[in-house]
């Protein structure tokens, strides 16, 4: 039974890849500037929640067109009254296209997962849910567990695309 289910899923995936036009998570590289802000807590009344915010650059490449991007995140954050660095790998998994009838799409809904290392020994594992609009701006909510310093980070994220969209060559207008 599982074999048939796997086969059906494979066929479904190959159908979606070959027949549906991919308008989100297209092939190529994307650079974004990410602004994030939120709090870190260990859920204990004795220690107050602390503000955390940051400005990071992200670079992703599409690994599976229409589905998956992989990349890196690096930048500066303000945490625990200190400026520090944060970096690590990240993957993005698209869960839904926001379609514009037959015209294409206006964005997508995707999940992120990352593993980030801070210069003050933070080790964060987590992810979030994001809405990308017009391939220009992404907003989202993230949650991370710092398993080294025993705290949780909850943040709002706004990203702006920095890399330009490649202009399509039109041989009929040359």
């Amino acid at each position: 039974m599982n074999k048939y289910l796997s086969l059906a899923l494979c066929l479904l995936l190959s159908f979606s890849l070959t027949h549906a036009q991919i308008t989100e998570f297209k092939k190529g590289w994307t650079t974004e500037l990410r602004l994030q802000s939120g709090l870190a807590t260990n859920f204990e009344a004795s220690s107050p929640d602390v503000f955390t915010g940051g400005l990071l650059l992200t670079e992703h490449v599409t690994a599976v067109p229409g589905k998956l991007k992989a990349g890196v995140v690096a930048g500066g954050i303000y945490y625990n009254k200190k400026l520090q660095g944060l970096f690590g790998p990240e993957v993005l998994f698209k869960i839904k296209d926001l379609n514009a009838a037959e015209m294409g799409s206006i964005g997508n809904l995707h999940l992120s997962a990352n593993w980030l290392f801070g210069t003050e020994h933070e080790q964060l594992v987590g992810g979030g849910i994001h809405v990308s609009v017009l391939n220009k701006v992404t907003i989202g909510l993230t949650a991370h567990r710092d398993y080294n310093l025993n705290s949780w980070w909850f943040q709002c994220v706004v990203s702006v695309r920095l890399s330009k969209v490649k202009k399509i060559d039109e041989p009929f207008n040359k």
């Binding site: 989100e24 037959e102 017009l134 969209v165 399509i168 041989p171 207008n173």
Partner: protein, 348 residues
């Protein structure tokens, strides 16, 4: 008796026109058109109908999917471009199927083709043709193909619905061109069906294939978002332009029929032909009836909407096969309704 085939615009609905052509050819294999006029999807059909590549036409209009014609994208990526879709796949099809051989065949053959476009800069209807001496017109500009590339660009422009598909610089590579920068789009913006071009170039039997339906049944429910409203607006616009394109030739033909009836009455009253001619062949600068005879103007169109999405830009092979069958069966019914004396007239 010069015979013309006029094919309107309608994207994937062109499959219906291919069905009509197929049925006409099947029933009257010796029947040939002298003039073929196409707008938009009609311009893609025109060269192949004129060169009688019927099998290729059927193959083209029953196998293509939307991504063989246009590529969709995130609309944000298209904000700095000049169309919502990337039309490179259509250009690839045009360069593949509208070969130099077809161009040479058209330029040396005895059939005339007319491809309708609209110039974005001037708003003029510009008709591209293989006719080296086309009839002049006050209402549109006529230009003869200069090369195979020029011919392909004209077809591409005619097929490109503005906003959805890019405008084309048809004359960019034409040596000595005054305005190589001018951009052209779908002729359907101004002229949905080019009946006028067929009349001006001497056709007296005109088969017009319209791809919009006779009736426009109310769409149930409320339009709540932008894109369905845009799609519906396009359909209403197309229907209205199509109606206007047909009303004028029909009115013109009524004029010709009226003049003919008066002439016949004068003749039966004993007035000689030379006197009758002297009354009617008045030398006016713009006498639209001079040396014209009443037309046989046949209109074949679907009774119900054919689907095909907004502007006919959804290409689904199974739907298009169905459209082709609809075109064939409606044409069969239409031909069966004509008196045999009428059909035998065309076959002469």
């Amino acid at each position: 008796m010069p015979k013309a085939l006029v094919i309107s615009g309608g994207g994937s609905k062109g499959a219906f026109a291919v069905g009509v052509i197929k049925q006409l050819h099947q029933q009257f294999s010796t029947f040939h058109f002298d003039i073929v006029v196409g707008t938009s999807t009609g311009s893609l059909i025109t060269p192949l109908a004129a060169t009688e590549e019927f099998d290729l036409l059927e193959q083209l209009y029953t196998t293509q999917t939307t991504q063989n014609i246009v590529l969709k994208d995130n609309l944000g990526n298209r904000l700095s471009q000049h169309s919502i879709f990337d039309a490179n796949p259509l250009w690839n099809l045009i360069t593949h199927y509208f070969t130099d051989d077809i161009y040479n065949k058209l330029m040396t053959g005895d059939k005339q083709i007319y491809i309708n476009t609209t110039c974005l800069q001037t708003g003029d209807i510009t008709v591209y043709t293989n006719n080296k001496n086309p009839a002049p017109s006050d209402t549109y500009i006529v230009r003869t193909f200069q090369s195979a590339d020029h011919f392909r660009r004209a077809i591409m422009a005619s097929a490109c619905q503005p906003v959805f598909m890019p405008p084309i610089q048809i004359n960019k590579q034409v040596p000595g061109e005054a305005h190589p920068e001018y951009q052209y789009v779908d002729g359907g913006v101004r002229e949905y069906a080019g009946v006028e071009m067929a009349i001006d170039n001497g056709a007296t039997v005109i088969f017009t294939i319209l791809l919009s339906a006779e009736t426009f049944p109310p769409t149930p429910g409320e339009f709540q978002t932008l894109f369905p409203i845009l799609g519906q607006t396009l359909d209403i616009f197309t229907m209205d332009v199509g109606k206007n394109d047909i009303i004028i030739p029909q009115l013109y033909n009524k004029g010709l029929l009226y003049i003919n009836a008066v002439k016949n009455k004068m003749k039966s009253a004993g007035i000689d032909q030379a006197t009758i001619d002297s009354y009617f062949n008045i030398t006016l600068p713009d006498n639209p009836f001079k040396n014209k005879v009443p037309l046989k103007l046949y209109i074949i169109r679907p009774k119900e909407p054919l689907n095909g999405g907004p502007g006919g830009l959804v290409f689904d092979p199974s739907t298009m096969k169905q459209m082709l069958v609809t075109g064939q069966s409606l044409t069969g019914e239409f031909l069966a309704s004509l008196p045999p004396s009428e059909t035998s007239e065309w076959l002469v």
